[in-house]
Symmetry: C2
Subunit: 287 residues, 2 copies
């Protein structure tokens, strides 16, 4: 089943909206979906999956992005985009490539990726020693459905229609004006159309929850400067459990760590981003 999830034979929305057409050596045409809009831009995790599709095409035999480091340069808009891949090292068990999304000649997001075949890695070294502890969370049916969000929120965050997200009520009281002040957000994730999770899904899932600053009483958009994802295993079918936390907010910047656990209880992805703390509504940028 995990193998089938790598090569979906059915037509699923996530695959359709991240599809690319090769236009030249290492060059691909993409159409960034208006269905992935959040506020004024296109979701950064969705862009990572689009880049993952290009990497997969450019690096045959290395289907899994083991480490992707993305730096966000300018806000993306729905519509045509160019994805370019520049392979920097091939051969051996891993390959390294630079990958970039641009629109009308303007870079949106630039990244480096080291890719390999997680199936071969697991065959050669089946040892798993995880001391990280899977976070406790009420079952999905006892969590808060983002599909129940008010219509005006859903209009502003079109991507909410792409997935079924259930927020852990222990860290969602900011919705009622009572932030927990712990800097934690968590929830259950699955695709809205029943598609099973795969490696490319993980690149997206690590960036779709509300920012942890909501739980610190700081509403508003928290622009990502840098996001690195480590994909550690191909996920089992079923719900993904996602947890974000920050431990160091300082000088207007904060880190946000994310863990994704699959239905088999395995830690399948770890990510960390550096983001800007939301500014008070009337502040002006002197930079």
């Amino acid at each position: 089943v995990a193998e089938a999830a790598q090569d979906p034979v059915q037509d699923h929305e996530f695959d359709r909206l991240t599809a690319l057409s090769p236009t030249g050596p290492g060059e691909y045409a993409a159409d960034l979906s208006s269905g992935w809009v959040v506020g004024g831009g296109v979701n950064g995790g969705y862009l990572l999956a689009v880049m993952g599709q290009a990497l997969r095409h450019a690096l045959p035999g290395k289907p899994d992005p083991l480490a992707v480091s993305a730096h966000y340069v300018s806000a993306s808009a729905p519509g045509p985009a160019t994805v370019s891949v520049d392979v920097r090292r091939e051969g051996g068990s891993v390959a390294t490539a630079a990958v970039e999304v641009a629109q009308e000649g303007v870079t949106r997001i630039t990244a480096l990726a080291t890719c390999g075949d997680l199936g071969r890695f697991a065959e050669r070294a089946p040892d798993v020693r995880t001391t990280a502890v899977e976070p406790a969370m009420p079952p999905p049916e006892d969590c808060i459905r983002t599909s129940d969000a008010p219509a005006e929120v859903r209009a502003f965050v079109a991507m909410l229609d792409r997935f079924d997200l259930r927020l852990d009520p222990a860290h969602a009281a900011w919705g009622a004006g009572e932030p927990g002040m712990e800097g934690v957000v968590g929830g259950w994730f699955r695709w809205a159309d029943g598609r099973e999770p795969d490696v490319l899904s993980l690149l997206t899932v690590c960036d779709v929850l509300p920012p942890v600053t909501f739980d610190l009483g700081m509403p508003g958009w928290a622009p990502t400067l840098e996001l690195t994802v480590h994909v550690r295993a191909r996920p089992a079918p079923g719900w993904l459990k996602v947890r974000h936390a920050t431990r160091n907010l300082a000088s207007g910047l904060f880190e946000e760590d994310c863990e994704i656990w699959d239905s088999a209880g395995r830690l399948v992805a770890q990510s960390r981003q550096l983001a800007l703390v939301p500014r008070p509504p009337l502040a002006t940028d002197g930079g």
Copy 2:
């Protein structure tokens, strides 16, 4: 004093060994020091500081690498190297650049960096909320001096002469063949010649301790695939406290998280790397 550490007026070894000469637009000549050799290559943290010098020159007014994501492509050797910087975004409070070290036309390490001025960030947003807890460690005089390592180890790891490193005895029993099996390594760091720590030092310090796999009973070299550093504040003068830990070793790969705390008790840098588990001595690479 912190300001002085940014622009050292005295001649210190770290500054001398990371110095560059501009050779063209965004191009610099470096001489990788044989004093930074560890085993068969040049230390990756030292390479980050060399890249940091190039970024600082290429991005005036943005002296601090807030986030650096490096992917290691091939092993570096002591001797001449070229460092190139390609600025991808300037203006506003941060800038983004690609930076690369090559030797004889072969890429050694390729990175993306987002840089800014931490002094201005701190002025504009002095709020600090750190829930991370500074690790407990015996004082430096009760820790294990790497300068006491046997001569054959010191010959193999020339970089040990560059700094004064005191390992936390709680996670150093692997030296006596009794690994703690916790996946933790920690210690105190300062430059051997008394130079105070600065932002570029932090890029190096996050990659000079022995790999956490030593504490898991896995001796040997653990090649870094990817390393991202977030520099969160300019360090105060004095000892740096460094702690590395892994929580997920699987499929022959492990992540290694590093925290650096300064003498004022501030979390000044956070890094994470993805590395290959050391292979048994007689294993052959089928990749």
